[in-house]
Each structure stands twice: as structure tokens, then as C-alpha cells.
């Protein structure tokens, strides 16, 4: 059913720290590695060794140059499904293949019902959905629904693959519907933002903007090295000898 639940018990999602993301692409490859064998498998690659490589990915990391009056900086920006509270990708679906779970708010696609009309990818402003031309159905991030509830994994591994892989802990997973959760606290503390709030999709995932610049950085205006004075002392003698 593509009507949205009035509310969800939990709002599971990600918080991505744009201050600490180094753009290493570890989350991208971890996502692909897990999900090509997971719930939405396969994440087909077309012509993987040819000149026109194409394939399905749930997580893509862009790099931007953000220039303000304070100066410019590089911001690495991971982009994936935001598991919106008002996901138009779900309501436009004509078949009921797309749905938002009432239990945890995860937006999923039932691959057996999808007719591949692609309308959901048009309705998503964030480009979270990618069409698998080989299988003929739409695919998207599952928030690793097959990891986070997986009793076969150790408790600390029951997080999305991208979160587990991040070497700088720039990715956080939790319940954004619970104001007391660590992840909600983090959003509160760091002033986390929604992407494209003006469109009204109410994304669950939040992004932590880069921290403000400080003046604490090392001063680099040290005096240039002076040549050793040629006269006097032991060092002067060495200088004369080596200069010959």
C-alpha cells in the first residue's frame, strides 16, 4: 500500500557529519559489497570493465567547494536515501511496490511488484533511487534492513554497512524519532540540517554542517631561515670547509 503511515513507531536513519567526512569512499564500497548480496540484490554493474561503466549504487560521495566570506573549503558529501517522512517516491508508486514501514520508517521497494515505471525516481528530489536496467526494477538504500535486525551478527555490527565502514565516524545510525537517542542529541548539539527542506519531504536523515572556522590553526609566518654567519666558531669553520 503506497499510502503513508500516519506516524511510525521509530524513525531510523542516518546522521552524516560533513565536518569529518574525508571522502574516502569506504562507505560507498561497503554499501555496494553488502547490498549486492542483500535485500535488494544484485546491485548490477553494466559493462564493468568497459568504457561505459554503469551500475546501481545506493550511496554516492560528491565533493564540493564551499566558498563563503570566511574563505573556501572542500566538503565531501555522501548522498543516499533519506528515508523521508513524506516520501513522494512511495505515494506515486502505482503498484504498491514502494512502501514506508510503520514500525521503523524505512522506505523499501518490493522488487517482485515493481514494474520499472521509474516515476518514483522522478519524484525523489535527492536522486536516491537508481534503476537496474538489467533486472528492470528500481532499487534503493534499505538502511541495511538485513543487518540492523540480524541476530546472526554481533550486536555492534547491527548497523548499516556504511556506518560500520566509516573510518572517521562521520556516519551515525539511530532513532531520530526519539529525542533522547544519542543520534538525536548529536543533531541537536551540532545544529543538524535537512536537505531541501523547502520541498516538504521531511527527510529523516540529517547532515551536520562543517564546524565554524577557528583561529586556532598554526601560524605559518615563521621567519625564513637565515644563512649561517660565515665567521667565527666551530660552525663557521664547518661552513667554510664545506663551501670550498
Amino acid at each position: 500500500m503506497t499510502c503513508l503511515p500516519a506516524q511510525t513507531e521509530k524513525k531510523l536513519g542516518l546522521v552524516i557529519d560533513l565536518d569529518t567526512c574525508v571522502g574516502c569512499q569506504a562507505c560507498v564500497t561497503a554499501c555496494k559489497e553488502w547490498n549486492t548480496g542483500g535485500h535488494m540484490a544484485p546491485l548490477t554493474d553494466m559493462d564493468p570493465y568497459g568504457g561505459r561503466v554503469d551500475g546501481v549504487w545506493f550511496n554516492r560521495v560528491h565533493s564540493y567547494e564551499h566558498t563563503t566570506e570566511q574563505g573556501g573549503r572542500t566538503v565531501n558529501f555522501p548522498r543516499s536515501c533519506l528515508h523521508c517522512e513524506q516520501p513522494a517516491c512511495v505515494t506515486v508508486c502505482p503498484t504498491g511496490a514502494s512502501f514506508k514501514r510503520a514500525s521503523d520508517g524505512i522506505v523499501l521497494v518490493d522488487e517482485d511488484k515493481c514494474i520499472g515505471c521509474k516515476l518514483c525516481s522522478w519524484a525523489c528530489p535527492y536522486g536516491a533511487r537508481e534503476f537496474d536496467t538489467d533486472v528492470g526494477v528500481m532499487k534503493k538504500c534499505t538502511l541495511c534492513v538485513d543487518r540492523i535486525y540480524n541476530d546472526n551478527l554481533a550486536a555492534e555490527d547491527r548497523v548499516p554497512a556504511c556506518v560500520a565502514a566509516c573510518p572517521t565516524s562521520a556516519r551515525h545510525f539511530g532513532d531520530l524519532g526519539d529525542p533522547a537517542s544519542a543520534i538525536s542529541q548529536l543533531v541537536e548539539e551540532r545544529g543538524g540540517v535537512e536537505l531541501m527542506p523547502e520541498l516538504g519531504y521531511k527527510p529523516t536523515n540529517k547532515y551536520l554542517p562543517p564546524r565554524a572556522r577557528t583561529e586556532r590553526a598554526a601560524k605559518v609566518d615563521a621567519p625564513a631561515l637565515e644563512p649561517i654567519r660565515a665567521d667565527g666558531g666551530f660552525l663557521g669553520w664547518i661552513d667554510r670547509m664545506l663551501s670550498n
Binding site: 500500500m1 508508486c93 502505482p94 519524484a123 528530489p125 537508481e130 528492470g136
Partner: protein
Amino acid sequence: MHPAYSVVFFTTATGAGYGLLALLGVLGGLGFIAPEFWLGLVGMALSLGLIAAGLLSSTGHLGRPERAWRAFSQWRSSWLSREGMASVATFIPAGLFGIGWVLMGKSGGWVAIVGLLAAAGAVMTVCTTGMIYASLKPIAQWHSRYTLPAYLIFSAMTGGMLLNGLLGSFGAGSTAALVGALLATLAGWGWKLATWHYNDRLEIPTTANTATGLAGGTVRSIEWPHTEENYLLKEMGFRIARKHSAKLRRITQVLAFAMPAILLMIAFALPWPFAAAASLLAALSQLAGMLVERWLFFAEAKHTVTLYYGR
């Protein structure tokens, strides 16, 4: 947005088909167009043929067309599902109207009722098609008050043009049909110009800043996540038409509006077989022009995902 040929043909063909069906249903059912076997047969075959061809073509862009029947289930939330249901449901009164008006040669009474129902179904289906596009917030050029009326006006315009050509061909042409087709064409022209005027001055609140959550200053894409074009860029990052849009808009105006209007005015002045030929030429020109218009409708539409790629 990538203009898939199947969808361009689908929306143009069904628009004209439903326009013609609605006019035949109302005018034929109420007796304004007298039942006449060959005129009725060709008219109904043309309208239902265009609709059926369009619907079949639309399944051409599906990844799994064999599952298309599933699209009749989510009418509570999805305009695409509503379109599917309305289009199929309209075949029922349309078929009954065809039996009554064409095969039995009747108008009025129950034929009028099924004719009006077919017309209502046609209008509803065109509305659902328009709403599919009008409801998409990420595409500002579509998510506007111009989109739904455009689908209705163009459907009435192309349907009226086909009806005028049809009546002329069977020697049943009338000044009313000619004037109607001409006025609809001028209305369509005006609406298209107003839409372009509006779209060219759109101030879209969504920017690379809001897309990335990076407030203030400028956000410039310095590196993509991938080296080749991916699905998102192929489907939503289409740029060819924006490059040629001025030329394509001129072609649209000539083929869809100016030529048909001139040909219809010529038809006023000419005696029967020549007037009918001019009317038919006008219809052909307009349909060709509307294919260009629909292609531009897609190709000029800019999706918010392109902001992530600095396009």
C-alpha cells in the same frame, strides 16, 4: 528530464484520442453530429486507436511490462495508477457509445448517456495524466499551475482538429467545427507562450546550498562520485534540448499553432474537397508540432538532482 519516445508519443496520442472521444461522445450522443456509419466508424476507430496505441506505447518504457496489471491497485495515492484505471474504465462507455452511435445509428437516450460518460472518462483520464507531471515537486517546470490546464487544452485542441478534419473528409464539415478548431489552436498557442514565459522567469528556491545543507556562499561541484554517466544523469540530467530550446520552440510554434491556424483560415475560403484537404493537413501539422512540444516539455524540465552534479 530524458524525453523517452514512448512517453512523448503516449501523451500526445492519448491526448488527441481522448479529445476526439470526448467531442464525439458529447456532440454525437446529443445529436449535434448525426449518426452516420462510416464517419462514426472512422472517428471512433481513430480515437480509440490513438488511445490504445498510446497506452501500449507507454508500457514500452516499463522495466517489467508483464507486471503492468499491478498498476491498477494504488489509486488511493498514485496519479499514475488513477490514470491506468481511468483509461481502462473509459473504454466501457466508449465501447457502448460506439455500438449505439455507430452500429445502431442512434443518438439521444441511452446513447447520449454513454456518450457523456465516455466524455467524462476521457476528461478524467487526461486530468490524471496532467497530474502525474503537475504533482512532481522536484521538477519546478512541471509542478506549476500551467501543467494540468495545458494537458486539457492540448487534448481539446488536437481532438477538435481531428474532428474538424474528419467532418470535412466526409463532406459534413461546418463553420462551427472550423471556428472551434481555430479558437482551440489559438488558445493552445497562448497557453504555451504563457507557460514558457512563466518557466523562463522561474525563481526556484532549491539551490545547491539547500541541496547540500551548506548555508551561504557558493557550492561548486568539484568531483562527481563516478566518472561515467549514471542512471540519474541519463534519466534526469538531459541537456540537449536546453541547448537548442529557442529553435525547437520556434518549430513547435510553426508546426503546432501557426501552420494549422493558417490552413484552417484557408479552409474557410475554399470549396469542399480542398477545404477538407486543408483541414487534414492542419491536423497532421498540429500533431507533428505537438510531438515536438511534448519532447520539449520533458527535455526543458530540470530535476533537482542535477544540482548535486553542478548542472
